[in-house]
């Protein structure tokens, strides 16, 4: 048994072994996340192919400015996260805490904007299963409902990952405040960074697919709703 203050868990022999294990584990976890979202991206591709016009019309109801703002927030939060990991690596506790706080701040801003977007869609009767009403061309109704279902399911799953990420961030912040990390041991900060970047990256794919692709163009042959 190693002593209680050592960052090396009892079943590892060296800190390198522990760090490499955590790194492989996190990358594998992210691989499972790719498959989790991958199934949804597949469904999106299938239905976009099946309902091209409805998806174009429905995605025109997205507010690309809010989506763009959120994209910006997440990119900035990824940059601050990189600086947080770098501060941890160099043993700068103040920098680590500051950049973690900035990351949390932009992550929270993302969720706030997302809340207003959801609220806006709710008031517009865009939520399948809750209050979906289609006022456009009736032949597009099924496809539009499918679009909005995928929109809420995919962005909802992404938002859930953001919320989990913010929870983890608070834990990392507290442990950093307690001085648990050093240039020799800052593994949790780095692993959390990988997760955070991954969640940002998912959004980088969601944003163009849901907000930009084909939006604001007349559906094949004209006739806007």
């Amino acid at each position: 048994m190693s002593n209680a203050h050592s960052p090396v868990a009892h079943h590892f022999y060296t800190i390198e072994q522990q760090k490499e294990s955590a790194t492989i584990g996190m990358w594998l976890f992210l691989a499972t996340e790719i498959l989790l979202f991958g199934a949804l991206f597949t469904a999106y591709a299938v239905y976009r192919y099946k309902f091209p016009d409805a998806f174009m019309v429905a995605s025109s109801r997205m507010d690309w400015k809010m989506g763009g703002l959120n994209t910006l927030f997440l990119i900035v939060s990824s940059v601050t996260m990189v600086f947080a990991v770098s501060s941890a690596e160099k043993g700068r506790r103040g920098g680590l805490l500051g950049f973690l706080a900035a990351t949390g701040f932009f992550g929270t801003l993302f969720l706030v904007v997302k809340y207003f977007e959801y609220k806006h869609h709710y008031l517009d009767h865009d939520v399948p299963g809750l209050n979906f009403q289609w006022t456009g061309a009736p032949e597009l109704a099924n496809g539009a409902q499918m679009f909005f279902f995928l929109y809420f399911f995919m962005t909802g799953l992404h938002a859930l990952h953001m919320i989990v990420g913010l929870g983890l961030l608070i834990w990392i912040f507290i442990t950093a405040y307690q001085g648990k990390y050093s240039p020799e041991y800052y593994n949790p900060v780095e692993m959390f960074g990988l997760y955070w970047h991954f969640v940002d990256l998912v959004w980088i794919f969601l944003f163009p697919l849901l907000y930009l692709l084909g939006a604001h163009l007349p559906p094949g042959g004209g006739g806007h709703h």
Binding site: A9, S21, G25, L35, A39, P128, G129, Q145
Partner: protein
């Protein structure tokens, strides 16, 4: 088997801590393996009970005991429980959890707390399923096909799919843990091609668990969401595509077949080596064939969907790819057979299970080729031929391997032997009962009896009666080990390495100490490095039984702590 004159070690993982907290909050991979063993044993007998009810109804062509709806629930619960809550976790979560760190000379898996968490998640999933059983069941079939499951079924679909979601999550975490453990926790000198073949097969299994299960998870959530919110993601009336569901479901559930069978293939490699007292013939080919099976498993799912509006060209592609799986599977079977040649074969219980496995797996695999060919599948699809085929793989294969492994490593886990005579009897009963259950089903399936009906044409009755008789015998064969295993925990003869088997797991005491090895082992030899000739006479601690057993290795001494000379 060699009778040893040994006593239990003073401190081992079972007596190092006492009390229920020491079990429910343990992070010891050995104890977690046992927690899984108890949980899946419950699920095994529950699922088996539903199988017996199904076979009871099928004794006669008419509906005697159950209505169509009740029968639908029975075969659904039978499938859901035994696939997701027994077969998928079976060998990896019990034997794998127990043995991987021991076999690679580690103190524990890479993430012990995550390991415990995955058991708790499994329990949550099991509770969902038990709740479904208690409140009225589910009738969709274990495949949850849409739009029936999403739109028409009025049974407890949401709870059942969430149960599957949870157990899938548990399976992902176990697989992830094993991959990292095998990469980073191996003892010095234990290179990849020195690893036991069981480790190779679990590594391949874990890759499938990690990469395929998330797709099933999200598919289950989509079904629950569709039922909950009444949106048409898979409902054709609302523009949804039920075939998309089948693609997503089989993208997991075909590879899942290999999650179930690959660990057994690994167990059988260990057994064949230990009971022929030889290195497995073509070790590298057998090792790599596990990875090949894992890779191929991801590109064959379409063969479940030849009759689901699949184009003939896509069907041809999936057909050819499915045939490919036969190659690495055959590599294993041929190499095991070659290992037997001129081996010093002993017919102890684990070996009987292993030999039964080889025969049944071969037939199960070959009938899989029938089903992989598009034209024949059109005739055999959804008949009892399919049922017989996959039961040969999953029961004749996976369960036989699990039982063989349990018997083989039982003295390692508990330091006591099960009664060998009863063990051989159970292996024999299981083999006879199994064949009587499922061979008639090949015939009735070929003659056209469809699966999932509780009534059938009278001319199928004789074969169905044979099948039901066989399943009753099989049930006895499964109950016997339950009884004598429990008996042996207290009354079994103390044993350390009754097989004189090689491998790091046998280098430590039985049962092992809490952190497995008193000092870190260093490996200097390949796996299964059995002497080709009987070793030096040395001191022999027990008498030989069975006639063909090799003599005891001189260093595996009666204290049970004997460390082989080559492995310090």
């Amino acid at each position: 088997m060699i009778e040893e004159n040994v006593s239990l070690p003073r401190i081992h993982y079972l007596n190092s801590h006492y009390g229920w907290k020491s079990w429910l909050f343990t992070t010891d991979h050995k104890r977690i393996g046992l927690l899984y063993m108890v949980s899946i044993t419950l699920m095994f007998f529950l699922g088996g009970f539903f199988a017996l009810l199904i076979r009871l109804e099928l004794l006669t062509p008419q509906a005697d005991m159950f209505t169509a709806d009740t029968y639908n629930k029975f075969f659904t619960l039978h499938g859901v429980i035994l696939i997701f809550f027994f077969l998928v976790p079976s060998i990896p979560a019990t034997l794998g959890n127990f043995l991987i760190p021991l076999m690679i000379g580690a103190k524990d898996v890479a993430f012990p707390k995550l390991n415990l968490l995955s058991w708790y998640i499994f329990v949550i999933g099991s509770l969902f399923t038990l709740w479904v059983v208690a409140v009225g069941g589910i009738d969709t079939g274990w495949t949850f096909y849409t739009p029936y499951s999403t739109t028409f079924a009025n049974t407890h679909v949401i709870a059942a799919t969430l149960g599957v979601f949870f157990t899938g999550f548990s399976s992902i975490l176990t697989g992830l843990n094993f991959i990292v453990t095998i990469h980073k926790m191996r003892a010095p000198g234990l290179t990849w091609f020195r690893l036991p073949l069981f480790i190779w097969s679990l590594y391949a299994t874990s890759i499938i668990q990690v990469l395929a299960t998330p797709v099933l998870g999200i598919t289950m959530v989509l079904i629950a969401a569709e039922r909950f919110a009444k949106v048409g993601i898979f409902d054709p009336a609302l523009g949804g595509d039920p075939v998309l569901f089948q693609h997503m479901f089989w993208f997991y559930s075909h590879p899942a077949v290999y999650i179930m069978i690959l660990p057994s293939l690994g167990v059988v490699s260990e057994l064949i080596s230990a009971f022929t007292w030889k290195r497995v013939f073509g070790y590298k080919f057998v090792a790599v064939s596990s990875l090949m099976i894992a890779i191929f498993s991801f590109i064959v799912w379409g063969h479940h969907m030849y009759v689901s509006s699949m184009s003939i060209y896509a069907g041809m592609l999936f057909s050819i790819l499915s045939y490919l799986v036969a190659v690495p599977s055959a590599v294993k079977v041929f190499n095991w057979t070659a290992t037997l040649y001129k081996g010093s074969v002993s017919y102890d219980t684990p070996m009987l299970y292993a030999l039964g496995f080889i025969g049944l797996f071969t037939i199960g695999g070959l009938t899989g080729l029938f089903l992989a060919s598009m034209g024949l599948d059109r005739h055999l699809h959804d008949t009892y031929f399919v049922i017989a085929h996959f039961h040969l793989i999953m029961v004749g294969g996976a369960v036989m391997g699990y039982f063989g492994g349990l018997h083989y490593w039982w003295p390692k886990m508990f330091g006591r032997m099960y009664p060998e005579w009863w063990g051989r009897l159970s292996a024999l009963i299981v083999f006879v009962g199994f064949n009587l259950s499922f061979f008639p089903q090949f015939i009735i399936g070929y003659l056209g009896m469809p699966r999932r009906y509780h009534v059938y044409a009278p001319e199928f009755q004789v074969l169905n009666v044979m099948s039901t008789a066989g399943s009753s015998i099989l049930g006895v064969g499964y109950l016997l080990p339950l009884v004598y295993f429990i008996w042996s925990l207290r009354y079994g003869k103390v044993a350390s390495n009754p097989w004189r088997a090689k491998g790091l797991e046998w280098e430590t005491t039985s049962p092992p100490p809490p952190e497995n090895f008193l000092e870190q082992p260093i490996v200097t030899e390949e796996a299964y490095n059995y002497p080709t000739r009987p070793a030096q006479p040395g001191k022999q601690t027990g008498k030989l039984t069975g006639g063909l057993n090799p003599p005891a290795s001189p260093t595996a001494t009666a204290t049970g702590t004997g460390r082989e000379a080559e492995v310090v």
